[in-house]
Each structure stands twice: as C-alpha cells, then as structure tokens.
Symmetry: C2
Subunit: 108 residues, 2 copies
DNA sequence: TCCATATGTGAAATACATTTCACTTATCTT
DNA sequence: AAGATAAGTGAAATGTATTTCACATATGGA
C-alpha cells in the first residue's frame, strides 16, 4: 500500500498546487478565476488541476461554460492541519525559510 | 503559513524516502542497515535522511560509530493513515498503478 | 451557423531534484 | 598512532516534473 503513496506527496509538493488548494479552501472556483487570483497562466493552472484531480484532491463539476473545481475537504482539511502542526513543532527547513520572501525561492 | 508547506510534501514525494520511512516505522536503524535492507547505495540513503531530518520527519542519535535514525511517529503515524484512507477512497492515479509492479515506474 | 468565452492538450524547453562517485570526517579498537 | 568501520559532503551527471506556447475542443448566445 505504501509502495505508491509517494505519488500522494509528489502531487502536492509544489508551490502552485498548494496555492490552488489554499484558494479552493475558501471557495470553489473556475480555472480562469484561479489564474487571475494567483496571477499565473491559465494553462499552468489547468495542468496542475488535472493532476490534483487525478489524485482526488479536488473534484470538478460543469456549470455552463465553466468548470468549477472544489476541494476534497474530507482529505485536505485534516491533512493541512496536520501539516501546520508539524511545521510549527518540528520543521527546521521551513523555519529557516520563514524570513524569506516567496520571490526568493527559485521554484515558482 | 501555507506558503511554505509545499516543502513538507516535496520532501516526502519520493519513493526512496517513503521506503526509508516504511522501514523506520518498524524500528530505528542506521544508514548502513537501511542501505542493506533497501538495497540502495549508502550515500543515497544518507542524502535522503538529511532532508528528512531537516524537515523533522526523523530524528537521529549517536550510538558509538553509528547514527541511529528513528521516525517522528507523532507526525508520521497519523499522516500515513490519512494517506492510506485517501488512496483507498479517492486516488484514481494510484488505483490505476496498482496492477503494475514497482519496476515499471521509471522513478527509482 | 458563427463568434466569443472557457478550458484542455501535446510536446519541446526549462528548471529542479535525485543519483553517482570520489573524497572527507568521525569514532572505535588495537 | 594506525587501521577499520560508519557516515557525511560536493558537484557533475542524470532523470523527471513543470512551464510554455501554439493549437484543439467544448459550450452558450446572437
């Protein structure tokens, strides 16, 4: 079972996707809305959403011309709170980076 | 706070590291022991452990010549069970790969 | 049907993480 | 101190994910 679970983390280990998830935590949104809010190319968002979808981190439903993506809160809410707790208590690497602005990370 | 949490996932999104974590779940171990058990170069294990250490997923203590690494079960046990539940319920990508042997994945 | 809006897709280019390997450091034993 | 064992390190090579961009598809309205 654990033999495939690196995919779970691989899929989330990316700033853009975490950005998307953070937005979707507030409310469901379409690709264009996310692109505007996060100031990223639409196509980037689209690719990212597709992988999130494939791993079941988000769901999508059609609504006219738009496709509204929403977070799988069942998984994501407890997951994010677990992460937050961990980072506060244990993560030296994250602590070290806390002073830095996002722009200083090469990874977009 | 979420702005850095992709590092959490990035660090875990790798087969070797999940392999190490799975071994350490059973019992603490040294670099050489892990290398033998996982049939990987010692240096690979060492690099991987360093990043796991930096993010607080494992701890280390010196014991004579050896350094014994042990899992941060506080974080990892609930995390892994959450992942397992999610994969069973939601992850299409993982389901799709279940039939395949590990050797078919290019990522070592 | 034709146009505009919204989104998906494939593949090359790019960026980044992992691997490899030779070398260094640390600790214990004799 | 010398040798043996255990582990860390740096950097080039490699592998893989992300980004980019031109194009394709889908839906609704005039």
């Amino acid at each position: 079972m654990e033999s495939k679970c690196h995919l779970f983390f691989e899929t989330l280990g990316n700033k853009l996707k975490i950005g998307i998830i953070t937005k979707l935590k507030e409310k469901p949104a379409s690709v264009n809305e996310l692109a505007k809010q996060l100031k990223q190319e639409r196509s980037k968002i689209s690719h990212a959403l597709l992988t999130l979808l494939g791993c079941g981190f988000v769901e999508v439903k059609k609504e006219g011309k738009k496709r509204i993506y929403k977070l799988n809160k069942n998984t994501m809410m407890p997951l994010l709170s677990l992460v937050e707790k961990h980072v506060q208590k244990y993560c030296k690497t994250c602590k070290k980076m806390e002073g830095k602005k996002d722009g200083n990370n090469k990874k977009s």
